[in-house]
């Protein structure tokens, strides 16, 4: 495989990275890198570094690599070579400028989507290696501004969007009132101890997309679910700290979420249509806290819809007519195996489902995941130009007749929106919840 060929074409300016870099010394860099490698990574990093034979089979898996005409700078193993290998090889003796590049690569040129791990004959998990780099970047204080700000929001409010303590229950009560115009006895039961289910969402819902809470409430109501939402912290299941490498904060967020479920004495946590939150609750956060498995059954919205449709708890009045295509979010498909359930839901509610290719666990990431979209405007084009293949894939589905793109993940939604817009693909993007709400039988 060729050596990395080019540096960043344009030098982005990001206050988080730039100010962070200006404060670094080589001693500091070395001590942080060695402390992370020696004290936090253990055998996994070592094994991966020693096992990789540089065969490059993982390259074809990565949408950044494919979208940049097979530029090795963007290949999974190329990203590793430009970051953690060099750090290991040089025992941490790297320059601030090297750290700047490492921050840009790990935080903005890898979605931690794990597609490449499926192509590596040894199952090397590049996403894990990029997470180690992000951890080092966090410890060095060089995390990009926007996602660092999101982590700060998490730290203060335990939610992603600086939603204050009063704004959350107030929003739920407002949505409840709105929904009562449609279904007079509908409730969003707050703090109902002993309910079967705690429904948790990510903070963009109360902040910008409150109609999603409205729709979820209608679905819960019609399905006759015994559910509740907490009125205090712990309602937000999102986790950008997981993506900035601030593991201590990730643990704090997940503890808050799980203990809220424990306090409410629910049996299950049903999560809204979000991928990364699922990864955080189901895989990363719980483990950091010492739980091999989450203390409560975690049900992603896809599985929840699957179950209530299958059990006949909601009925479809008339299937959705416009042909849809389905984007498989990495975190719930590669990470949670929900692809067939997603198809069951899609076929149950839509007349015409057109598969994009590749699909299921081989689907291309939206380019937003892994916190990349949360690095904000400075890196917007990185993710859009880095995912031309996604545009081609979507265009393929569109050519076969798809008019609507269903993406059961918030980040995917936003990321795909940018791609659809930039490449002028012309697809409407929806959540499953949008369509279910539209086509289900509701009390007259």
């Amino acid at each position: 495989m060729a050596e990395p060929s080019k540096k960043e074409a344009t030098k982005v300016v990001d206050e988080g990275i730039d100010v962070g870099i200006s404060r670094l010394t080589e001693e500091k860099i070395q001590s942080v890198i060695n402390s992370v490698i020696d004290e936090e990574t253990g055998a996994r990093l070592k094994t991966y570094v020693e096992t990789c034979v540089h065969c490059g089979l993982c390259s074809e898996a990565c949408h950044y690599y494919l979208s940049h005409d097979n530029d090795p700078h963007y290949s999974p193993v190329g990203k590793v070579k430009q970051t953690i290998w060099e750090m290991v090889k040089k025992k941490g003796r790297v320059t601030p400028e090297f750290i700047r590049q490492a921050a840009i690569i790990a935080q903005t040129e890898c979605n931690l989507c794990k597609r490449c791990a499926q192509y590596c004959p040894f199952g090397i998990d590049i996403a894990y290696l990029m997470s180690v780099v992000r951890r080092i970047i966090h410890r060095l204080g060089v995390t990009p501004l926007y996602i660092q700000d999101t982590a700060h929001s998490h730290s203060v409010t335990m939610n992603q969007m600086w939603v204050k303590g009063d704004e959350w229950p107030d929003t739920l009560q407002w949505q409840e009132e709105e929904a009562q115009a449609e279904i007079p006895d509908l409730r969003i039961p707050l703090e109902k101890e002993g309910a079967d289910i705690m429904y948790s969402v990510i903070a963009p819902e109360p902040k910008f997309q409150a109609q999603l809470i409205y729709q979820a409430a209608v679905i819960m109501h019609v399905a006759g679910v015994d559910w509740t939402m907490p009125a205090s912290m712990g309602w937000d299941n999102s986790d950008m700290a997981m993506f900035t490498g601030d593991n201590e904060l990730m643990g704090r967020l997940k503890r808050t979420h799980f203990e809220t479920a424990a306090r409410l004495k629910v049996k299950k946590i049903v999560m809204g249509e979000c991928g990364h939150a699922f990864r955080s609750v189901y895989d990363m956060g719980n483990r950091w806290l010492g739980w091999a498995m989450p203390p409560f059954t975690i049900v992603h919205a896809i599985e929840f819809y699957h179950d209530i449709i299958k059990e006949g708890r909601i009925k479809i009045a008339r299937k959705y007519k416009p042909p849809i295509t389905l984007h498989d979010p990495c975190n719930v498909v590669r990470g949670g195996g929900l692809h067939e359930k997603a198809r069951f839901v899609a076929h149950a509610i839509c007349e015409n489902v057109i598969e994009m290719h590749p699909n299921r666990e081989h689907n291309y990431c939206c380019g937003a995941g892994g916190g990349v979209i949360n690095t904000g405007p400075p890196f917007k084009m990185t993710r859009i130009t880095g995912n031309r293949v996604k545009a081609e894939q979507l265009f393929g589905a569109k050519t076969k007749g798809a008019e609507v793109l269903v993406a059961p993940c918030h980040n995917c939604h936003s990321g795909l929106h940018d791609i659809v817009h930039h490449y002028e693909i012309g697809l409407d993007i929806k959540f499953f919840g949008d369509i279910i709400y539209e086509v289900m039988e509701k009390p007259a």
Binding site: E39, V156, T157, G165, Q173, S232, E248, A262, G290, M293
Partner: protein
Amino acid sequence: MVDSRSWDWDTGERHVSLDSLKKKYRWVEEPYASPDGETVAAIVNVDEGEFTVCVNGEAWGETVFDKIWHLRFSPDGRLTALVSELGEWTMAVDGAAWENKFGYIWEPRFSTDGTAIAAAVQQDMRYAMVLNGKPWEQTYANMTYFAMSPDGRHTAGAVQVEDADSGEIHKFQKGSFTAALDGQPWDMRFVNVWNLALSPDGAHLAAEVRLNLYDYTIAVDGVPWESRYATVWEPVFNPVTGTVVAPVREKGMWRLVENGKSLWDRRFVQIWHQMFSHDGSRLAAIVAPKYGRWTVAVDGEPWPATFTQLVTDATFSPDGQCIAALAKDEETFRVVVDGIPWSDTWDMAWQPVFSPDGKDVAAKVEKKNHYTYTVNNRVWSGSCDAAWEPVFSPDGTHLMLRTVEAGNYVRRVVPVSDIVG
């Protein structure tokens, strides 16, 4: 503590019809039973945007509110709820709203004896605590964690004292938060302040603090401990000596420290919810001795029995000699007393309750939506649609069981011997 000696402890049962309410109102929300079991109340919807509370079948005072939520009995038996009228919010106690109204009110707290009630309030986008209807004089741009002293005389909050707009990450990292006791902020600023604890007399305030993005410690009365940790969890005060104990993380493992000095030698994969016995002589915590295994450690020694999913709701007996908790394996809960799990498994269980002499333990439990009680590992024969935690009589001979059965609220006093044989 609430004095339950004056309550009716004669064996027998009383019923209040709940089903009949359903005909009277558009909807009836989940009921709440008073601590003495004499009253059952539920928020009811009278008409569009008109709510009241139905108390033993009677409407709650004259006022109909635009919205009512968070109906709860205080430990002394007063009925409280968060209510809104003409777009303003406040607390209503036994049907009467506090005079002071706010933009919003949430997270009510009660003192141990129930005589004091506090909550967080927002007015004109400024935040404060309100205690018995009276808000702090100082207000803050944000307030995130709240606490009330056990005696109900003091309140505290984690408050924002410097403006740091979203996006101003470096300003934020210089510290914009502190803690305030009765409205008075500490001098020092922190990046974050979480989980406040007030000493039993309310004179001292401790909190988790983050000094920069990486260094965590505990601050007491505004002064951080000298030691720094990778992270920390909630501090608690020793009820007798007043020292502060908190779990801290170093090199990937947790231990307990007291006033910044090591307390337990043993390190754990996780430690939290540490608690003192009433006399302060014993200290227990929920721990993970190994990855994926949970139990209770008492004075540093974990119980031999461990559980996979969750250990929660640990509680000391009044004399501090015993500990009861709930443990979850797979999908089922069990009551565990002093490390010995009881035989029956449940879909859900509630915090175990000790008799005053500490000899008997009772817990509300549920399986397949049927609620019952388990006492000393014997299951009560009743099966209910809803239930509240059991209450022991002051002499420990009787249990008050508050349940919902066949559309009726039932208050029942039974001899403990009827259940345990």
